[in-house]
């Protein structure tokens, strides 16, 4: 209701939120890996508050691109299931799903989380393609952070199935090796309502959102990817604030991730 949007804006000016959280407080976050038992080679269900995102990996074996004969591929896809929100029923917003997939992908790719050469089976002939498929089941805001975390958890707990040279197919019942991550980027988004910065917005808060900045950082603190979203501008100062505050949010997510999947 528009009345709520107005109230959210007014309260933000006073540093207050509808659910009583601090402006930079995150909702409860849970990560459950191995959510899919048999058909996926790595999976994770992440809940941030009521937002629920499921990521499943599918590993296929394909011919490499001719210009990269010794490298495998990562493909990231995101579905906003119509069940995730009432206004998605008549068809979810196409660009939102595409942006979500690309932002999540960028964090993983730019950090070189996976060494694509590790995915090579037979140079020039057979390489692994890792499909990262995100399925948003319930959207109550902050999809980017939830999806990125789920993707990282799925990769960290995932494996590559064995390749049978005789039949030239994958034997999904046999593991070749765990997916090794060269580094583990974590992605968080800082949001702005009016002149106030805040973190982890709910679905309702998102309707009053003016701008957001997503930041992906590696363990060494370097930033590997960014994305500004929504329709209002951010000042360079606000961006720096978000980049700095991001560190403690990222640390928190890292701890939650490591508690579930280990280091």
């Amino acid at each position: 209701m528009k009345l709520n949007q107005k109230t959210i804006r007014e309260m933000a000016e006073d540093g207050e939120r509808l659910d009583g959280r601090d402006m930079d407080e995150l909702r409860e976050i849970t990560v459950e890996t191995d959510y899919i038992n048999k058909t996926s080679e790595g999976s994770a269900l992440v809940e941030i508050g009521d937002t629920k995102v499921l990521v499943g990996l599918s590993i296929e074996i394909e011919e490499p691109y001719s210009d990269r004969p010794g490298k495998g591929t990562i493909v990231t896809n995101a579905e906003l299931a119509p069940m995730a929100r009432r206004d998605y029923e008549s068809g979810p917003p196409q660009e939102a799903g595409v942006e979500l997939a690309r932002v999540v992908d960028r964090g993983i790719r730019e950090a070189e989380a996976i060494n694509l050469e590790d995915l090579c089976m037979v140079e020039g002939e057979k390489v692994y393609t890792v499909f990262i498929d995100a399925h948003v089941l319930n959207d109550d805001g902050n999809l980017i952070d939830a999806t990125s975390l789920a993707a990282m958890a799925a990769l960290k707990s995932g494996y590559l199935p064995a390749y049978d040279e005789e039949t030239e197919t994958l034997n999904r019942d046999e593991k070749w090796k765990d997916i090794e991550l060269q580094c583990e980027p974590i992605t968080v988004t800082g949001q702005k309502i009016g002149d106030t910065l805040l973190w982890d917005t709910t679905g309702e808060e998102e309707k009053a959102l003016d701008a957001r900045l997503t930041v992906s950082k590696k363990k060494d603190g370097n930033i590997v990817a960014m994305q500004k979203g929504e329709t209002h501008p951010l000042t360079a100062d606000e961006m720096s604030q978000i980049m700095s505050t991001a560190d403690e949010k990222i640390q928190k997510l890292r701890e939650i991730l490591e508690a579930e999947v280990g280091e």
């Binding site: 209701m1 528009k2 009345l3 709520n4 107005k6 109230t7 007014e10 509808l18």
Partner: protein
């Protein structure tokens, strides 16, 4: 006559409630002299009438209901009101104000604009679900500030309480102003609006339990104490 389910029992769709002379009221249906439930809900006997009150379900407008809605369209001589239902309502100029309005001169947006939240009454509902609304009840007004939360319409009576006791209790302890719409939209205004909202949601969750008034009273006292300690 044999009654398989007792007063206040929880039933699911297709559950047999009674066999014999009883008749089916709202939420129940009859087949071959047997009364079955249509809902996941609670059984209520009223003489020989059997009613099943559902635990959930979206709002169906009913004449006389006072609800909270939002103006979504302003036309030449009327406004359209949405209120979390499959149906929208129409507010005609004649039912909106006692003032004289010259349709060629005055702008209806001066009274109510798109986006305004209002407490409004359902005047009439036709079989084809055309809903007419009116603002001429003294409880009707435009809402400013505060927040609106959603509860299941089936839980509204519990949140209001017998003779308004439950909502009054929450109002007093949190020093808030709460208006409960029959459609499940609840407007809350005040400093401790967040606490009041949580109390309302707690009543909704535990609506079917006994001694709820005391439970909520105790819970509110605890929360208020905790807030003071901070």
């Amino acid at each position: 006559m044999s009654r398989v389910k007792e007063e206040d029992d929880l039933v699911t769709p297709g559950d047999l409630i009674s066999e014999g002379d009883d008749s089916a009221d709202s939420g129940a249906y009859e087949e071959n002299n047997k009364i079955y439930s249509k809902y996941l809900g609670t059984v209520h006997y009223s003489g020989q009438n059997i009613e099943v009150r559902p635990m959930s379900g979206r709002y169906m407008p009913s004449a006389g209901d006072t609800i909270i809605g939002e103006i979504t369209r302003v036309s030449y001589s009327r406004w359209t009101v949405e209120f979390n239902s499959a149906y929208e309502g129409s507010l005609n100029i004649a039912d909106a104000t006692d003032e004289y309005v010259d349709l060629d001169e005055d702008d209806l947006s001066d009274f109510y604009e798109v986006g305004d939240a209002v407490v409004i009454k359902v005047k009439s509902v036709t079989e084809g679900m055309d809903v007419d609304m009116t603002m001429t009840d003294k409880r009707c007004r435009k809402l400013e500030g505060g927040r609106i939360i959603e509860i299941s319409p089936s839980k509204v009576p519990r949140v209001i309480g017998k003779k308004g006791t439950m909502v009054k209790q929450i109002n007093e302890k949190t020093n808030c102003n709460i208006i409960v719409g029959q459609n499940g939209q609840v407007w809350i205004s005040g400093d401790k609006a967040n606490l009041a909202a949580r109390a309302v949601k707690k009543v909704e969750r535990e609506a079917h339990t006994e001694g709820l008034t005391d439970t909520i009273s105790d819970w509110l006292d605890e929360e208020l104490e905790a807030m003071e300690d901070e």
